[in-house]
């Protein structure tokens, strides 16, 4: 990257800067005219300082007409000047924003190319503010970089020339201190700059500290070191405070000095100019003109000084950021963007010669390792922690560059290949694979997205929009790949299209022991029946099959209460019974049903309003009775109470205030509060005996009214339970069940779950359910999956792209022993005559591998087959014995 901001600006926006400067220059004559015309208006047109009629372009004008013409000209100049200003500003903004975009892109692309050890020294907390906040002001400066000094300098020059023409002595005196300013200010400014650099560094450390705290909160809490953390933070804030305060002092001192010197000008005008006028060698008119001109001088001069400060600030920021983003060993840009053919398989023999990796303390972590094996073999790497096996796998995966020695495949040096080739043909999974915050499927397909392959189907408007985006991206030196294109390399995964890929994904997920998990996730998943009509159909089929099974078996029929429009479901909440459907969006959200006007009008019509209010009152008094004595943080509140511990005192007050017989006159707020309670009641579960058959019948009436008089604008706010329709707001399991599991029957959920599984098996819907799981949102960092699921998913992702070499570095170490034992043969079989390199935490697992490398202190001390190595007095035997 360019080492200084000016080089960066010139290299990438030379033409724009020239344009801006020319635009500034072009505005000078108009600006001059803008000052000139009022003079003519006052002197000539109004005061009649010229002889009329005046002849302009052969037309003779009287005084009044002349005035009007001049005024029109003045108006025109106002428009012209402001238009100039507008277009210069817009163009300047555009240039600045493009350059900012380019800079951020460049920095981000550099992060992607950092050698891995850099991230040990540089944390998220440092990198993020650099790319986001710190470079932001640079955009503004870049627009001004050349045009501002040109414009303001030009103005200054014109005014100075004017002053010197009036009287050289006086003008000279007025600007006599400018050289001093030019000499002193940079010196002061340099001190501010140093402090500025310090401030940037400190703030970066502060954000690093905050990031560390966020990640380490459990440690801080468990060891009660929050005081230590706070003291540390306070210390850092103190340092920043000191620096910022010093900056303010310096900055305002500079300002003081500037203003002082500026004000010296009038002093000289009054004294020297006054003296000259008294002695008669200067006319008073000229003095006044000179004072006015000097006043105009102030603004460009100030602007130039401000520019100087801004320039220094930008220079420091730029240099500071850029130096951080150029760590030694950063990858070449071309290694990520070439168009090498990735279809050539890596085959033949893998050969390492004297492979060495030294860490930043010059210790050899991998020390002159040489070995060779054929790429149709499975290779195990074993050794104790710190033996260098982890680093060896990173070298083989090309995530680290060797300090010396080479890795070659069939005679071709691996480090000479671009990431395009290795990224396509080699997979690597470490002890903790990273899962991105998207769906399970997208995580799986991640390894297949190298370049956009199939352009999206745009209509003509979208095409134009897209072309504009591309043009703009290219102007800022960004890549113009379309994020909306289909990036998935189906061919690499050995399939033809997305449908086949999803099937293949399912196969791989089962291979890595995620089969049951995927089934569960799928059952809890939702689908859009419009885009997956076939799935919806099969689920409806399963619903019917389940219904038949349940009806046939009296033991089962007592466990499920099916939704029926004509009957009250005692295992569903009052709210669910009323809506007889799932709310869509916020209109009928279960928590706020009592606030909805339409719901209230329905309840009113069904004669339920007072009933529910009274039930709400009873629920509230029961809750207060049951929970009032419990401490506020008692877990029962969350598990059982209808009223949270924070709200309990309010309800206590309400109950004391309002008598049950006066519920009609209760205030609106209290009414909502009370009425929201009964909607959560489940008759079978809560056993409060408040929803008796009479109330149930009324709720059924309300259900009918709710559905029949639902206004059109609310029709999309509820998805009704409909036996013949797939409910898009309910998950697959609830759609199949189409009812509620009955409370109070032993093992009911388990039995119903088993029955659903049986039905799904019989209808051969397991894959359908599994495929739905591919759309499951895994949460930030995969937080909605368990640790084992995340790790298996990472392995599945590496397998799905069908690499020639799969490198696993203790990738299953975090799984339980049984899962490890299932995974290992499955993966070996999958990789048949491809290459599987596995750094094992448990050497006993090495038994079935073709070739074993035993690492010790960075060297390969033994290698061979399991039977070769499993002999007395071998290192391998010792490792086996140590487990």
């Amino acid at each position: 990257m360019e080492s200084s901001i000016f080089r960066f600006v010139l290299r990438h926006s030379f033409r724009q800067q020239i344009m801006l400067t020319l635009m500034a220059a072009a505005s000078f004559p108009f600006l001059y005219a803008f000052y000139e015309v009022p003079k003519a208006i006052v002197n000539d047109a109004i005061q009649g300082g010229t002889t009329f009629p005046v002849e302009i372009f052969g037309v003779e004008l009287g005084q009044l007409a002349y005035l009007l013409v001049l005024c029109a000209l003045f108006l025109l100049l106002v428009v012209v000047n402001q238009s100039f200003k507008y277009s210069v500003n817009v163009y300047r903004g555009l240039t600045g924003e493009r350059m900012l975009r380019r800079l951020r892109y460049e920095l981000y692309s550099r992060v992607l190319r950092f050698p891995l050890p850099t991230f040990r020294k540089m944390s998220q907390g440092e990198i993020i503010p650099m790319i986001t906040a710190e470079v932001e002001p640079l955009g503004g400066f870049i627009g001004d970089a050349f045009s501002l000094p040109a414009f303001q300098g030009g103005t200054l020059f014109v005014i100075l020339a004017f002053l010197f023409i009036q009287d050289p002595l006086m003008a000279g005196a007025a600007v006599s201190l400018y050289p001093l300013q030019v000499y002193v200010i940079p010196k002061l400014q340099r001190r501010v700059n140093r402090l500025g650099k310090e401030r940037v560094r400190l703030v970066r450390r502060l954000s690093d500290r905050i990031g560390e705290t966020v990640q380490g909160v459990p440690e801080i809490r468990v060891h009660d070191t929050s005081n230590f953390a706070l003291a540390h933070f306070s210390h850092q804030l103190g340092l920043i405070f000191g620096v910022r305060y010093a900056i303010y002092r310096q900055k305002f001192f500079i300002k003081f000095l500037n203003n002082f010197i500026q004000q010296l000008g009038p002093f000289f005008f009054y004294s020297i100019g006054g003296y000259l006028t008294i002695t008669g060698s200067l006319e008073i008119g000229t003095l006044i003109a000179a004072i006015a001109a000097h006043k105009d001088l102030a603004s460009p001069w100030k602007e130039l000084l401000r520019y100087y400060q801004m320039k220094e600030d930008a220079r420091i920021k730029y240099e500071n950021v850029v130096s951080q983003f150029a760590p030694p060993g950063i990858l070449d840009e071309r290694s990520q963007i070439d168009d090498s053919d990735i279809s050539t398989k890596l085959q033949g023999e893998l050969n390492t010669a004297n492979l060495t990796l030294t860490d930043d303390q010059e210790t050899s972590v991998v020390d002159g390792v040489s070995f060779r094996f054929s790429l149709d073999q499975n290779v195990a790497i074993v050794g104790v922690n710190g033996s260098g096996k982890d680093e060896l796998t990173l070298l083989l995966a090309r995530l680290l560059d060797p300090s010396a020695g080479s890795i070659s495949v069939n005679g071709n040096d691996l480090s000479g290949m671009s990431e395009t080739v290795t990224g396509g043909r080699i997979s690597y999974v470490g002890p903790q694979g990273f899962i991105f915050a998207t769906t399970l499927g997208e995580n799986l397909f991640f390894g297949l997205k190298h370049v956009p392959l199939i352009a999206p189907d745009y209509d003509s408007d979208q095409t134009i929009k897209r072309e504009r985006e591309v043009a703009e991206a290219e102007r800022s030196g960004n890549n113009s790949f379309d994020i909306h294109a289909d990036w998935i390399d189906y061919k690499a995964a050995g399939v033809g299209d997305l449908v086949a890929l999803r099937q293949e994904a399912l196969r791989v997920l089962k291979l890595v022991d995620l089969g049951p998990d995927i089934y569960d996730l799928g059952l809890r998943g939702t689908i859009d029946p419009d885009s997956h009509p076939k799935v919806a159909q099969s689920i409806l089929k399963a619903r019917r099959a389940l219904r038949e099974r349940v009806a046939k078996d009296p033991n089962m029929s007592s466990l499920v209460e099916t939704f029926d429009r004509e009957t009250y479901n005692t295992n569903a909440t009052v709210g669910e019974n009323l809506l007889f459907g799932n709310p869509v969006g916020a209109d009928f959200a279960m928590d706020s049903l009592a606030e909805d006007e339409y719901v209230l009008s329905v309840l009113d019509q069904a004669g339920l309003k007072d009933t529910l209010l009274s039930i709400g009152y009873q629920v509230a008094s029961t809750m207060v009775e049951l929970f009032a004595d419990l401490p506020a943080d008692h877990e029962f509140f969350q598990q059982f109470s209808f009223i949270s511990s924070e709200d309990l005192p309010e309800f206590q007050g309400l109950l004391a205030r309002v008598d049950r017989s006066q519920l009609n006159s209760v205030e609106a707020e209290d009414r909502i509060r009370l009425m929201s309670l009964p909607f959560k009641l489940i008759t079978a579960r809560h056993r409060l005996d408040l929803i008796d058959e009479d109330v149930q019948a009324k709720i059924l009436d309300a259900r009918e009214i709710f559905a029949s008089s639902l206004p059109d604008e609310l029709k999309d706010s509820v998805e009704f339970y409909d036996d013949d329709r797939y409910n898009s707001k309910a998950n697959l399991q609830d759609n199949i069940l189409f009812g509620k599991v009955v409370y109070g029957e032993a093992h009911a959920s388990d039995k119903v779950g088993e029955l659903i599984a049986e039905v799904i098996r019989e209808l051969d819907l397991e894959d359908t359910v599994g495929l739905v799981a591919l759309d499951y949102d895994v949460g930030i960092g995969g937080s909605r999956l368990s640790g084992a699921q995340r790790q298996k998913l990472a392995i599945a992702r590496a397998v799905l792209k069908a690499p020639d070499i799969l490198i696993l570095s203790e990738a299953t170490a975090s799984l339980d022993a049984a899962a490890q034992l299932r995974l290992s043969p499955a993966l070996m079989q999958e990789f048949g005559n491809r290459c599987l390199i596995w750094s094992l935490n448990n050497p006993a697992l090495a038994e079935n591998f073709d070739h074993i490398l035993v690492m010790h202190n960075g060297r390969v001390v033994e290698q061979g087959s399991y039977s070769d190595l499993n002999k007395d007095n071998t290192q391998f035997k010792q490792l086996l014995a140590a487990v």
Binding site: N555, D629, F636, F640, D689, Y743, A746
Partner: protein, 151 residues
């Protein structure tokens, strides 16, 4: 059956006889009421237990597995309390409890049970009394068995 009826039932159970009604109501409200059909097991010997049961209605056999097949130790019925050993001392279920007819129980989770005991020492005493009585019975049975074996 409503919550209030359940509270009345619970008061008949010796274990809870000294606990104030509002706390019994909380116990009833926070416990799950379950129905077991004849033949279904409340708990199975050797499994990990996470709950104890108060039998509200119906009868159960308490059996243990022996090398000679299963041996019925006792029959429990209304107002009896079963399954507390596994949750008191974190051992697997010591016996199998099987419903002989339709049985309704109140399932009290381990957390809730331990919490009630710590909050109501009276209940702890009742649990001790019950366990002591059982120990006494077991001791008598053991003595009789010894005498029978020696003669």
């Amino acid at each position: 059956m409503s919550l209030n009826e359940e509270v009345d039932l619970l008061r008949r159970v010796p274990l809870f006889s000294n606990i104030e009604p509002s706390k019994l109501k909380l116990l009833a409200f926070t416990s799950e009421r379950l129905t077991f059909r004849a033949g279904q097991s409340l708990c199975v010997q050797g499994e990990i237990g996470d709950a104890a049961y108060v039998i509200i209605e119906g009868q159960c056999d308490v059996t243990i597995d022996t090398p000679n097949g299963s041996l019925t130790l006792a029959t429990v019925g209304q107002d009896d309390f079963v399954g507390e050993i596994a949750i008191l001392c974190d051992v697997p279920r010591t016996a199998t409890v099987t419903a002989t007819d339709e049985v309704t129980v109140l399932k009290i989770s381990k957390d809730l049970f331990l919490r009630m005991i710590s909050e109501f020492p009276q209940m702890g005493v009742e649990v001790m009394r019950e366990l002591a009585a059982r120990l006494e019975r077991t001791t008598i049975q053991l003595r009789e068995a010894r005498i029978a074996a020696s003669t």
